[in-house]
Amino acid sequence: MCGLCGVLGVEDHWADTLGNQNQSDDLRIKRRREKKRRITIANRFLAFYGVKLTDWPSGGYKLSTATGRTVLLVHLAAFCPQVEALCGRALDPLDTALLDNMCSKAM
């Protein structure tokens, strides 16, 4: 588990405090908002692999394919191998086809 896992939703990790300097915020609402953001950002590139990330009400996330295959994640730190297992492809942010796909969607 890398040190960035906290930013990806491990609740007890240091990085969950990033952006949490204002102690008057409702922490629960703030975390749900942040979780929703993570899901939106992740789906920008997961779509290329035919995988979608959604919120799992009991905590964590759900990864699913168009054919209905699903896997539950406690936190996003482990998303890479799980996505690869679902879609049968290697996740590579340097993949030209992925980058072209993300660019075309951003336009």
Binding site: G3, G19, E34, I41, A42, C80
Partner: protein, 329 residues
């Protein structure tokens, strides 16, 4: 508790450096894991032999030889300290073998669930022999890698070569690892310069981060050398961004990048301007392992750009920059 690694190719002066450290009063509360007692010659310093693997020196320093593997050695030493069999220590220094790749050692420290609860990585100190540096860098991929992952590069045997050799060596080491501080033997290098003044020392954090970028020149193109010069095709480049970064987008991108290419991303060091944050976040890592990010109280300088140094091998800097741009901006 900080853990320092002392690494360097065979004959590069690692043992000499260790001997000096073991005699230093500042090491009185440290424990040192070495390959073999006989290599260093500690008999005249020996105060107490605890068992076949552990001795205590005059300075108070605990010296331990490595057992079957590093993890067992660390945990055994830790247990002995808890039980009062050896004195308490507040720093651990590990000598690697001359052919060692430091990255797996970093992985052991950062990823082992038990060890990481008690220890955190301090500086990686790499010794480089001024007499044989050219040959080692050219012929031994281990040397280039040890230099690439270093926080401190200690050039040894400087009294045995002309000044011009050092003048030629410094930029070469700097191009391999612009984020490391270069120190030379014979210049009165202090114990703190090598070991204690690191990112986790509250009064030294900002200085440490400034050192990362002090070694860069203004040319942002990759310092790319062919494989003949560095054994492997190791080079460095920097990503610099003026606009604040989205922390989540950056985190997801970096996790993916290290998952796919961690083997080739030898070192990352960066200071980040994060959206919604007044003070910077600092990241650093070795291959697949990223340390828990640090926060600085304030920016070290007027420059508030995000700057990330990559030391990599066999990978395209242009593609990493392009990917970063698409994912993070």
């Amino acid at each position: 508790m900080p853990v320092n690694l002392i690494t360097g190719f065979l004959g590069s002066g690692k043992t000499t450096l260790l001997k000096q450290l073991l005699e230093a009063p500042e090491m009185g509360n440290a424990a040192v894991i070495i390959n073999e007692f006989g290599e260093i010659g500690l008999d005249h310093l020996l105060v107490q032999r605890i068992d076949g693997e552990v001795i205590v020196l005059q300075s108070g320093c605990i010296c331990c030889t490595i057992r079957t593997d590093l993890r067992d050695t660390i945990l055994s030493l830790h247990e002995k300290s808890n039980q009062g069999i050896v004195p308490k220590f507040d720093r651990l220094v590990i000598e690697t073998t001359g052919l060692a790749d430091p990255a797996p050692i970093v992985g052991t420290l950062m990823l082992d669930r038990v060890i990481r609860n008690h220890y955190r990585l301090g500086t990686i100190v790499t010794t480089v022999d001024a007499v044989n540096a050219d040959r080692h860098l050219k012929n031994n991929p281990e040397t280039a890698k040890q230099v690439a992952v270093a926080d401190r590069i200690f050039i040894t045997k400087t009294d045995l070569v002309p000044r011009s050799d050092i003048t030629r060596l410094v930029p070469r080491l700097n191009s391999l690892n612009p984020a490391a501080e270069l120190l030379q033997s014979g210049t009165g290098v202090a114990f703190s310069d090598l070991l204690t003044a690191d990112l986790y020392a509250d009064d030294k954090k900002s200085q440490e981060v400034e050192k990362w970028f002090a070694g860069q020149n203004t040319n942002l193109h990759p310092h790319h050398h062919n494989g003949h010069q560095h054994g492997e095709d190791i080079f460095s480049f920097t990503i610099e961004v003026t606009e604040p970064l989205d922390w989540t987008a950056f985190g997801l991108w970096l996790v993916m990048l290290l998952h796919a290419h961690g083997e080739n991303i030898l070192r990352i060091k960066g200071i980040l301007n994060i959206i919604g944050e007044e003070s910077p976040a600092v990241i650093h890592g070795v291959q697949h392992t990223i340390h828990p990010p640090q926060h600085l109280d304030k920016w070290p300088s007027q420059d508030h750009r995000s700057r990330i140094i990559f030391i990599v091998k066999n990978i395209s800097a242009a593609q990493i920059k392009k990917s970063f741009q698409i994912f993070c901006r």
